[in-house]
Subunit: 150 residues, 4 copies
């Protein structure tokens, strides 16, 4: 398994993603980002239960988004097939960023960024990133040397 | 305070509620229903913290939706001002239904229904409705004798 | 290609699908339904552009949802892998229904229904279903004789 | 009417805004931003029909979001009452930004930014901002001299 297996994802624009201007409604991009992040962890081998809260089971560490941004380069219509390239980046022992590049038939259409902070679920104080996330960050970095993302 | 104060609510259709057909995207109606229900409880005097889970505080009883339905009579466009008339109905000691009638300038445009079951948050077994919800159901019923909803 | 290829779909519950009760927020089921319907048409060979409006191109016939309903049998948590079985049913020359059965590891967890009416995009009057939808409805029905859905 | 009437808005966090971590799901902030923007225009006296597309009526100029960002300072729980202070800023004759400050009981909890570009609805080329938006931008600026936003 190469990093591309868990850092290159696909999705189609669906009717419910659009608004009355006929194109993707801008906050939806962040839903796609978070779903791509979840799918990436899953493909890498981390279960949702290890990372995300469920009833009767909350991981010891939460990873809330504390900052995000997006740039919209092309309007996206229902049915468009998108490729999402993820580039995770460790910022410090308790923080990472995720860069997303969206393209359609090879053309860049949007990009986005989310910054995640590790906090203790109970005390809500900053803490170290969970071991699984650290492995995923490290493995992502290794891949970049070999096959740089577009 | 008459029941109309907490059973007659208003909202406007917003751009993000629409899809590429130019009108309200059908699942949004249920978001409006649940927000109207929350606002109704709030106006009646029940705080969100008493009824809905928050971090570090879950009410002893949860009220999940186990069934819902909707009928769409007119397309709804961005900017349309809607009135929502709620009619809560106690089904049995552990279950209630909420009927919603949406109108625009007096014309019926949609209606919906949600059925809520009381379950113990820990065991997830059926239990009695919380006292606050029971008071709200009773007060709603009283009002109906005097000023029947349309 | 057998009907199962376009009538049996998969999706995972994502973090953004949940609410503070820790499980899938009930209106999300209808978003999953509509996305499954779109994916089914796509797999069957109908492009989104033929069926759904896009900027500068609206199909002659729109297919708004005029009624929907859902039953929630089990709470769904982040990461749960679901199977969605679709059963389209022609009601009359200008109307069809879509029945959805959601299951997790073979266990039924939810079911839903959407009813779609064909209307002329300009006059907004009822009209006949588009030819593509008619082919999809017919092909779906054929399959049922051979491999009945659960 | 002073600018505060159309630049200071209120909203409550609703159950459907939260995720399984028990707090507001981050992309929802942008939905609140856009709804606050729409409400601001409405209070200022601009109808939705003048600014946003509807079936059979699209304004000559569209105002898509080409960039956005957000900072999350405090977790937001169901029932929290928020104040949203808007600060519109004209960037050039065909572009404006909107700055949003969210507070709860006087405490800053989040801030966000959206950048909107005026484009001709048909040609999709850049053009001048609509007259109504220009009046709203100007009136917002006037107010700031007298009562500076926090």
């Amino acid at each position: 398994m190469t990093p591309d297996d868990w850092l290159l994802l696909c999705r189609s624009v669906r009717f419910g993603d659009t608004d009355a201007a006929g194109v993707m409604h801008f906050p939806r991009l962040f839903s796609w980002c978070h779903e791509a992040y979840e799918e990436s962890l899953e493909r890498f081998g981390l279960t949702a239960a290890e990372i995300f809260p469920r009833p009767e089971h909350s991981p010891a560490v939460a990873l809330p988004v504390v900052h995000c941004s997006a740039d919209y380069q092309r309007p996206l219509a229902c049915g468009d097939a998108l490729t999402i390239a993820l580039r995770p980046e460790r910022i410090d022992p308790g923080c990472f960023e995720l860069h997303y590049r969206f393209s359609r038939s090879g053309e860049a259409v949007a990009q986005a960024l989310t910054r995640h902070l590790a906090i203790d679920s109970l005390s809500r104080r900053r803490c170290a990133l969970p071991a699984g996330i650290q492995r995923w960050l490290e493995a992502s970095g290794l891949g970049r040397g070999v096959t740089p993302l577009p």
